[in-house]
Amino acid sequence: MSTTISVEHLSYTYPGVSDAPGVPVFEDLNLTVEEGSFVAVLGSNGCGKSTLAKHFNSILLPCGGKVYVGGMNTADAERLIAIRKTVGMVFQNPDNQIVANVVEEDVAFGPENLGVAAPVIRQRVDAALKQVGMYEYRNHAPHLLSGGQKQRVAIAGVIAMEPKCIVLDEPTAMLDPKGRREVMDTVLRLNKEKGITVVLITHHMNEAALAQRVVVLDKGQIALDGTPKQVFSQVDKLHEMGLAAPETVELCHDLNTQGFSLPLDSLDIEECAQVLYDVLKA
């Protein structure tokens, strides 16, 4: 499989205010994201998750090292539009990324910027809204929608540009559980059905558990990298970094300290129940 995003020896320092020295975030970070994969990026506050995401489509440019998106160097100013067309971004606050007053006109904003012809925009907008399940709301005003619906509109706005990859920066942080589920279902579907590469930055372990691969950032370095089962079974390491595993793994881990020896890779409730059932039965 080819790579969509590759980060090579990335270093980045936030510029200091006036004479103060800058704050280094990354010193030598390497990461590749395979095409069509679903990668979750975890990390405690201030570990550089969002900063990393902003490097994926030239919002921030590396101080050292290179970031490639679909083979294009993000520092190449001439290909800026092509880069941003390849990697779409969805942010935390749905209110602050919706530009227009009507849902469908907001979704059209990206394709309009790309200079797509009017009938094609119409098709793309309808398709995008159908994919996120918001087609019936196409003539609504965004401020009357719920948080989850707004975030789905924001996702539709990104997929209307037909990107290869979507980077979601804590898209569910401001949503209630229902909205969170709506957004996650949409993201999963886009990844499975459309083959869009997804990079999900999140605080919720249960969301990360849905990914194919979990990358844990700590102090500007990649601390853990693997399948959700591999990463979450290292509960003690996660705790050291101020993170937690999904509740089911935490439960098994706690039981293990009480003398059980349960496997630490049950990521959903069904699986966990089965493990406990087997142990208690024996």
Binding site: I59, M89, N96, A100, N101, V102, E105, P111, N113, V158
Partner: protein, 268 residues
């Protein structure tokens, strides 16, 4: 209290008025205002009123919405009415005491002025209620596009207007939240002298401005992410095209102006 502000809010719908080209509606509003200001008799006012009433009826906009939008303007209306009532000279004096005289002309003039403002605002509401802000700014952009040659930032202006309109409800909601939060901490906005009440607004305005700036920053990033790079090479999903209802509207407007002109010249 902030929920009452309906100025510039769009009522989605599918009436003929909704479907008119925004440029038609903008020009119609200007023509209508001209017609209103040339009106000077009961008959001409009646014609202008009839035109507006039919337009509102066709648009299916609830009358309540228009009346609600008038509320903040009650003071201006009363002020205009009183001013015209007392300061219009005339022959037929009805009441006269101290320095105030009320004449028959004054009463007529006051009624005309108030009615004129009411119709003017209703017509403006009809435009903003039936036209989504985006198509409104599209229409403005298209009408003003000849100015691009004079290096006027027409696209930028229409984008700014569009975003401002988009954030009105969001910021109103935010203001409501801040007011509640400050009330919860014991802030008092309702009592005290005028000065004190103005000062009490500071703890609302400061957080509101900070949050607005933060929003602006995030929005700018989000727009850049969606490949926004100014007006060059930008296309539109909804192309503006004049259709038959638009031509009909122009015909009706011309008719309105002609009738007004004829009626006034005859002296009715």
């Amino acid at each position: 209290m902030l929920k009452d502000i309906t100025l510039g809010q769009y009522f989605p719908g599918n009436s003929v008025v909704h479907r008119l080209d925004p440029r038609t509606k903008l020009i119609a509003l200007i023509v209508y205002i001209v017609a209103l200001f040339t009106a000077g008799s009961w008959l001409t006012y009646a014609i202008a009123f009839g035109f507006l009433a039919v337009s509102i009826a066709v648009s299916q906009i609830p009358l309540k919405a228009i009346v609600r939008g008038m509320k903040p303007l009650v003071f201006v209306l009363i002020f205009t009415g009183i001013l015209n009532l007392f300061f219009t000279g005339g022959e037929r004096v009805l009441v006269s005491f101290w320095r105030i005289t009320i004449t028959l002309e004054g009463i007529t003039r006051a009624i005309f002025m108030v009615v004129r403002i009411l119709m003017l605002i209703s017509a403006t509401f009809l435009l903003t209620y039936t036209t989504s802000p985006i198509s409104l700014t599209d229409g403005l952009e298209s009408l003003l596009s000849p100015l691009k040659k004079l290096r006027m930032p027409v696209h930028e202006l229409s984008m700014m207007m569009c975003i401002a309109l988009r954030f009105i409800p969001t910021l109103i909601e935010e203001t409501d939240k801040i007011i509640s939060a400050q009330k919860a901490r014991g802030a008092d906005f309702e009592s005290g002298s005028l000065m004190k009440r103005v000062k009490a607004l500071v703890p609302i305005l400061v957080p509101l401005f900070i949050s607005a700036f933060r929003r602006a920053d995030e929005l700018a990033t989000a727009m850049e992410c969606r490949c926004y790079h100014g007006g060059d090479g930008r296309t539109k999903m909804k192309l503006l095209r004049l259709k038959r209802p638009d031509y009909c509207a122009f015909l009706l407007l011309t008719a309105l102006l002609c009738v007004q002109a004829i009626v006034s010249s005859v002296g009715l």
